[in-house]
C-alpha cells in the first residue's frame, strides 16, 4: 500500500475574515510518488490549497499532515516544510526576483544552509539538467515566458523537494514552450517525485495524471483515477470542465462497435489513432459502410 505523504483534514481558509471561505471543509490524501492533476474553475481554491501546503497560508481550522506529522507553524517547522514542499507559482514574474538567472536559482538552496560550493554544484547541475545553460547569464527580465517558467521550476527543483506543486505551469505559454515544460514535468515524474499540477487542460490531465482531483467552491468535489473523474459529466459541468477529447471519441467508436469496450481506454488521441491503425483492414471497411 502506498504511503500517504500529505493529508488535509477539514481545512477552512478565508481571505476576508470568515465572510467567505476559499477553502471550505477541504479534505484530501496525497500518496507518495503520485502524479496528481488538481482541477476546478477559477477561484475554486486550488492556489489557496497549494499555499496552505507550503505554509504560506495558515488554515483558520483543520489540520495538514506531512508524512503523518501535523504541520507546525514555528519558524523552524516552516523552513523544514518549505524545503520539502516546493511551489512553482503561476506567474513567474511574481517568483523571479533576482537580476540574473544564475543568482535566482541559487537563492533557494542557499537558504537551506548549504555551503557555497555545494550550492554552486547543485545550481550547475540543475542548469544543465533543465537546459538553461544558453541563457543562464541573462537577466531575468530579458527571458521569454517559457524560459521564465523553466527558471521558476529550476528555482524549486534545486532545493530537491519531496513534493513539487506547479500552479498552472502552461498558463500563457505558446505550444512549443508548453511542450518544453511538460517534457520537463515528465522527466520529473520518472524520478518518483510527488507532483501536483493545477491545470484546466483536461486532455493533459487525462494523459498524464495518476489521480485527478476536482475542486469546487473550496472543497473536493471528486477525486479518483482520470477515467473515473472524467466519466462523471455532472461533476465536470459543476467545475466548468469538459471531458478530454479522446474519451467521448473512444466511447462513440465503442458504441459503433469499431473498438472493443473491453480494451483499456486510450489516454491520448495519438494512442487512439494507433489503435485504429492497428485494426485489420476488413474491420475498417466494415466500419466505413
Amino acid at each position: 500500500m502506498s504511503e500517504t505523504i500529505l493529508e488535509a483534514k477539514h481545512l477552512y481558509f478565508s481571505y476576508d475574515n470568515d465572510q467567505t471561505h476559499s477553502l471550505n471543509d477541504f479534505s484530501l490524501k496525497i500518496e507518495k510518488g503520485k502524479k496528481i492533476a488538481v482541477m476546478g474553475s477559477n477561484g475554486s481554491g486550488k492556489s489557496t490549497f497549494f499555499l496552505c501546503c507550503n505554509g504560506i497560508h495558515r488554515p483558520s481550522s483543520g489540520n495538514l499532515f506531512f508524512h503523518g506529522k501535523e504541520i507546525g507553524y514555528s519558524r523552524r517547522e516552516l523552513l523544514e516544510l518549505r524545503s520539502n514542499i516546493g511551489i512553482v507559482f503561476q506567474d513567474p514574474d511574481n517568483q523571479l526576483f533576482s537580476a540574473s538567472v544564475y543568482e535566482e536559482i541559487s537563492f533557494g538552496i542557499l537558504n537551506l544552509g548549504v555551503s557555497k560550493d555545494t550550492a554552486r554544484q547543485a545550481v550547475s547541475n540543475i542548469i544543465s539538467k533543465l537546459e538553461i545553460t544558453p541563457f543562464q547569464e541573462k537577466p531575468t527580465h530579458a527571458l521569454s515566458g517559457g524560459q521564465k517558467k523553466q527558471v521558476a521550476i529550476a528555482d524549486i527543483l534545486v532545493m530537491q523537494p519531496e513534493i513539487l506543486i506547479l500552479d498552472e505551469p502552461a498558463a500563457s505559454l505558446d505550444p512549443k514552450h508548453t511542450d518544453i515544460v511538460r517534457a520537463l514535468i515528465d522527466q520529473l515524474s520518472d524520478n518518483d517525485m510527488t507532483i501536483l499540477i493545477a491545470t484546466h487542460d483536461a486532455d493533459y490531465a487525462f494523459a498524464w495524471a495518476d489521480e485527478v482531483v476536482l475542486i469546487h467552491e473550496g472543497s473536493v468535489l471528486k477525486s479518483g483515477t482520470p477515467l473515473d473523474v472524467f466519466s462523471d459529466t455532472e461533476a465536470l459541468a459543476r467545475t466548468n470542465l469538459r471531458p478530454p477529447s479522446v474519451l467521448p471519441l473512444f466511447q462513440t467508436l465503442c458504441r459503433k462497435h469499431i473498438l472493443s469496450k473491453e480494451l483499456p481506454v486510450p489516454r491520448t488521441l495519438t494512442e487512439l489513432e494507433q489503435r485504429l491503425e492497428a485494426l485489420p483492414d476488413d474491420a475498417k471497411k466494415a466500419s466505413s459502410k
Binding site: 507550503n54 516546493g86 544564475y102 543568482e103 537558504n111
Partner: protein
C-alpha cells in the same frame, strides 16, 4: 537606462572580471576629477571610448547618441559659467549690449573648458562601466566591498522591479491608447493619472506575491545568492595598473 542595460549584455567586455573594471573606473574617475586637466580628460575620454566601442563592440552610433544626452546638458551648464553681465569688458571676450557687456575673463573661459572636459571625461568613464558591466556584477562587487546588505538587497529588488513595472506600465499605456485614452491633453492627463494609480496598486500586489514566493523558498530575511565568477587575468590587471600609473605621471607633470 533600459538601452544601456541591453547594450551591456552584448559587450565583449561583459565577461571580464567586474572588480578590475570597477577599480579601473573608480581610479580613472578620481584622477580625472582631481586634476581637472583638459589633456587628462581627453586621454580618459579617448581610452574609455576606445574600450567601449572598439574592444567592447558597442555600436559607435549608439555610443555617440548616448553621449549626446550628457553633452548638451554639460554644454548648457558650462555656458552659465562663461556668460556674465558686466559694465566693463573682461579679457576673454565681450559682446556689447548698450551700456552692458556679455563678457568673461580668459581664466574663466579656461576654467569652463576644464570643467566641461573633466565632466565629459568622467561621464565617458562611467559609460565604460555601465556599458560593460551588468548591474548583477556591480551588485556583487559592492557586496564584496562590504556594502550594507540592506542597500544591496534594495538595489537588487529595485533593479528587478523597474523592468517588471516598466513592462506593466507599457501594457497599460497601450491599452489606454487602444481606447483613445490619449485623444487630447485632458484625456492624456486623466489616463496618466489612472496609469500611476494602477501601477501603484499593482506594485503593492506584486510585492506581496513576490514576498510569498520568497517565503516559500525558505527566505529568512536575508537575500543570499551566488554570483557568476570571472577570474582576474594578469594581463588585464597589469594593463590597468600601467594605465593608472601613466595618468598619475601626467597629473604629476601638471598638464593643463
Amino acid at each position: 537606462m533600459f538601452e544601456i542595460d541591453t547594450l551591456c549584455y552584448h559587450s565583449k567586455l561583459r565577461e571580464k572580471n567586474a572588480e578590475i573594471k570597477f577599480a579601473f573606473t573608480v581610479l580613472t574617475l578620481f584622477i580625472c576629477v582631481w586634476n581637472r586637466s583638459i589633456v587628462i580628460a581627453a586621454i580618459v575620454f579617448a581610452t574609455t571610448g576606445f574600450l567601449t566601442v572598439c574592444v567592447g563592440g558597442i555600436p559607435a552610433a549608439r555610443y555617440i547618441r548616448l553621449l549626446c544626452i550628457p553633452f548638451f546638458f554639460l554644454l548648457l551648464s558650462t555656458l552659465t559659467v562663461v556668460i556674465n553681465f558686466s559694465k566693463t569688458p573682461l579679457s576673454g571676450y565681450a559682446i556689447c549690449l548698450g551700456t552692458f557687456y556679455i563678457t568673461a575673463g580668459k581664466d574663466t573661459i579656461l576654467f569652463a573648458v576644464q570643467i566641461f572636459c573633466t565632466a565629459f571625461g568622467s561621464v565617458s568613464c562611467l559609460y565604460f562601466l555601465s556599458l560593460s558591466t551588468p548591474m548583477t556584477d556591480l551588485i556583487a562587487v559592492l557586496e564584496r566591498l562590504y556594502c550594507p546588505s540592506l542597500f544591496i538587497e534594495l538595489m537588487l529588488l529595485i533593479y528587478r522591479f523597474l523592468f517588471v513595472l516598466a513592462e506593466l506600465a507599457s501594457s497599460i499605456s497601450t491599452a489606454q491608447k487602444a481606447r483613445l485614452g490619449n485623444r487630447n491633453f485632458r484625456t492624456s492627463f486623466s489616463s496618466f493619472g489612472a496609469l500611476l494609480s494602477v501601477l501603484f496598486i499593482r506594485a503593492i500586489q506584486k510585492s506581496g506575491r513576490l514576498y510569498d514566493a520568497m517565503e516559500s523558498r525558505c527566505y529568512d530575511g536575508t537575500i543570499r545568492v551566488l554570483h557568476q565568477q570571472y577570474p582576474v587575468k594578469r594581463k588585464e590587471l597589469f594593463l590597468c595598473i600601467g594605465y593608472e600609473l601613466l595618468l598619475l605621471y601626467f597629473s604629476w607633470k601638471g598638464l593643463p
